[in-house]
């Protein structure tokens, strides 16, 4: 399973990649929305799930979601956010089963379980 993880903090990406690697997942990481989109754009069917922070330095997670949705309508998105009040907006983005919300701070295991649940 190929996973794309996006966060502006390198340390977080590093630890998520390491952990998911132990679970036999193939992880690619990006620190900005633009970098993530170009990874996706190379092959829109390559990733089975995208894990992204809501806040990103350039375009935010939601904008990234909207851009990717234009090319791939089923790719599951897992949003990470420190704000519980963002959940409602996130859930409203797509049909149940394609969008998940993870409240920071979450455990690596919780991330893995969520990926298992949502990934195609």
């Amino acid at each position: 399973m190929n996973v794309l993880v996006i966060d502006d903090e390198a340390q977080i990406l590093e630890m998520i990649a390491y952990f998911l690697g132990t679970k036999e997942l193939q992880v690619k990481t990006a620190r900005t929305g633009e970098a993530a989109f170009s990874l996706f754009d190379k092959d829109p069917d390559f990733f089975q799930v995208i894990v992204t922070d809501v806040r990103l330095p350039d375009i935010d997670g939601i904008a990234l979601y909207k851009r990717i949705r234009k090319q791939n309508v089923t790719l599951p998105f897992i949003f990470m956010s420190g704000h519980l009040d963002q959940e409602e907006a996130i859930q409203a983005l797509g049909k149940a089963g394609s969008v998940a919300f993870l409240l920071k701070p979450f455990s690596l295991n919780a991330l893995y379980v969520t990926i298992q649940k949502y990934a195609k």
Partner: protein, 585 residues
């Protein structure tokens, strides 16, 4: 007025001197005229031919003698035009011979000119003829060798006398020469016509003027100058009075005071005129004052009271005083009210600063949550991975995760610490000497992450050569946070997202600049950015107090805050704060 009085007195004496000299001349002229008439009388009465003939007639009573005397008298009359009739009265008082036949036979036995005429030559037996013309009789004795023969009687007009009297040269329009005498009945009479009463000849002096008239004094043989005389008309005059011993006449030369003082009265009138104008001016000025000064003062007073009553919750006390006192009082009340209001305003401003901080703290909370969640997230994952490494007995990696946790706790603690400082009431903080650049760094602790997240390029152009300056660092930091937050918000929809923060020294001032590459500020907006409650941000996003609070803080520091911006070309906010002079020494 003093010059008027002294001028009047010198004018008076000058005119009196003038009248005196006129009076002296008139007296001489009149005495000369009368003397001339007596001489003419004497010339006739002393004719030997006449006396011999008269003497012959007394003895012989022949018609030839009468005829001869008539011819002599007629010759005499022809040679002296003013002599109208010449007659000879016999010792019994009967007219014996006359140039006018109608006179012959008239009995003058009881007439004074006949009685006195037997003894002396005299020329003042004045009378009015049928046509009211003033005439006089001259009479004198006719004698031959000491024997009384009769009285020579001449009736004459007094044209020369009257023309002398009526010569008003040097006497202006009201001056005249008045002749008077005491008549046989003891009454004071005017001899000649008067300038203002042509029919006054031989009339008695009016009783009303009798006491004061100069003529009475003249007839009391006094020669003097009078500056407060009243004449026969009751008019005040200046007068010179003379008395003729030979004639026993009084002579008064006088001039009305109204004419005498006309020039000086003009002066007086001008003076009064000036005083009147002055008075009018005073009244005008007073009313001007009343209108333009007192009335505005009253208005100001009323306004001050109104302001005090309406805005300053001070009850004004109405005290009846003049306008200035009243204004002073109202002003004092308003001042007191303003002082209290000002204190209240200061307190309110301090509260506003605090609540603004809390508001911006709330606004920052989104960012702060993110900032705190990042270290927490890392800690949480470090724990997860640590456990995995412990299970695998990879102690080195587990230890590395513990170390990371420690670092992240410090990171979180720093943010929290800063929040606590920022939330404190900065107005309670004392001023301290700090580095300007340190304040910039402090203000970025909570903002740097946000800026990065929003893709805003932050450029610091901080001068490395700045002295410490004495400020309330938390307040200045709050200002910078405010400016940077505004810059951030301004870049929300911009293509190029860049904030430049500069520090510099300019003379005795530290300069901070926060520049953004946003859309800039419209001129109309720029004029209001420091107004309280003015905001261009969406409802719920800004309180509109930010920049006005900044303005207040800068003012407290004797500094300034200004903005320059061109719409479409970003904006630069500049703070200018004085360096403590002590630091310079």
């Amino acid at each position: 007025m003093i010059s008027y009085v002294s001028f009047k007195s010198s004018l008076t004496s000058e005119i009196l001197q003038h009248l005196d000299s006129v009076a002296s001349i008139q007296k001489s002229r009149i005495e000369a005229i009368i003397e001339q008439n007596l001489e003419r009388l004497l010339l006739i009465s002393s004719r030997t031919q006449l006396r011999i003939t008269l003497n012959r007639f007394h003895h012989e009573a022949d018609q030839d003698a009468l005829q001869k005397m008539t011819i002599i008298l007629r010759d005499a009359q022809k040679s002296i035009p003013s002599f109208e009739e010449i007659s000879i009265i016999d010792p019994k008082g009967i007219v014996l011979v006359s140039t006018d036949e109608g006179f012959i036979g008239k009995n003058f036995v009881s007439r004074s000119f006949f009685i006195k005429g037997q003894i002396e030559n005299k020329a003042d037996y004045f009378f009015l003829d049928d046509e009211k013309n003033l005439k006089t009789y001259f009479s004198g004795p006719l004698q031959l060798n000491g024997v009384f023969l009769g009285v020579l009687l001449v009736s004459s007009n007094v044209d020369n006398l009257i023309s002398a009297i009526q010569d008003y040269s040097g006497l202006g329009k009201t001056g005249e020469t008045v002749l008077g005498k005491v008549d046989e009945a003891g009454e004071v009479i005017f001899l000649a016509p008067l300038r203002f009463n042509p029919g006054a000849a031989l009339q008695k002096l009016p009783l009303t003027a009798a006491v004061f008239t100069p003529m009475l004094q003249a007839l009391n043989r006094k020669e003097r100058l009078i500056d407060d005389a009243i004449d026969y008309r009751g008019a005040p005059v200046l007068a010179a009075i003379k008395y003729s011993d030979s004639l026993k006449w009084g002579l008064v030369v006088k001039l009305d005071q109204s004419e005498a003082y006309a020039p000086i009265d003009t002066l007086r009138n001008e003076l009064f005129g000036l005083m009147f104008i002055f008075l009018v001016a005073v009244i005008f000025i007073a009313s001007y004052f009343a209108k333009h000064i007192v009335s505005p003062i009253s208005k100001i007073t009323d306004r001050a009271r109104a302001i005090t009553d309406q805005f300053l919750s001070e009850k004004t006390i109405d005290i009846e005083q003049n306008e200035v006192k009243s204004l002073e009082h109202s002003f004092e009340q308003m001042t007191q009210g303003l002082l209290k209001a000002n204190q209240k305003l200061k307190d309110t401003q301090a509260q506003l600063i605090q609540s603004e901080k809390l508001a911006s703290l709330g606004e920052l909370s989104t960012g702060v949550a993110h900032e705190l969640n990042q270290p927490l997230q890392i800690i949480k994952m470090c724990v997860d991975l640590g456990q995995i490494h412990l299970e695998r007995e990879d102690l080195d990696k587990a230890g590395s995760h513990l170390q990371q946790i420690n670092t992240q706790v410090d990171r979180a603690a720093e943010i929290i610490q800063h929040l606590k400082i920022f939330g404190r009431d900065a107005s309670l903080q004392k001023r301290e000497k700090v580095s300007p650049n340190q304040i910039v760094h402090s203000s970025l602790i909570m903002l740097r992450g946000q800026l990065e997240h929003q893709g805003i390029l932050l450029e610091l152009a901080l001068s490395g050569d700045l002295p410490l300056f004495e400020v309330n660092p938390l307040e200045i930091e709050q200002v910078l946070v405010n400016l940077i937050t505004n810059a951030r918000d301004a870049l929300e929809s911009s293509q190029e997202k860049k904030i430049i923060i500069r520090t510099a020294r300019k003379y005795q001032y530290i300069i901070f600049e926060v520049e953004d590459s946003g859309s800039g500020i419209l001129t109309a907006v720029r004029e209001k950015v420091f107004d309280p409650f003015f905001t261009t941000k969406p409802v719920g996003k800004g309180t509109g107090l930010g920049l006005s609070i900044c303005y207040g803080i800068l003012k407290d520091h004797q500094g300034t805050i200004s903005v320059r911006s061109e719409y479409g070309k970003g904006a630069v906010f500049t703070l200018s704060l004085p360096i403590d002079s002590e630091e310079e020494a």
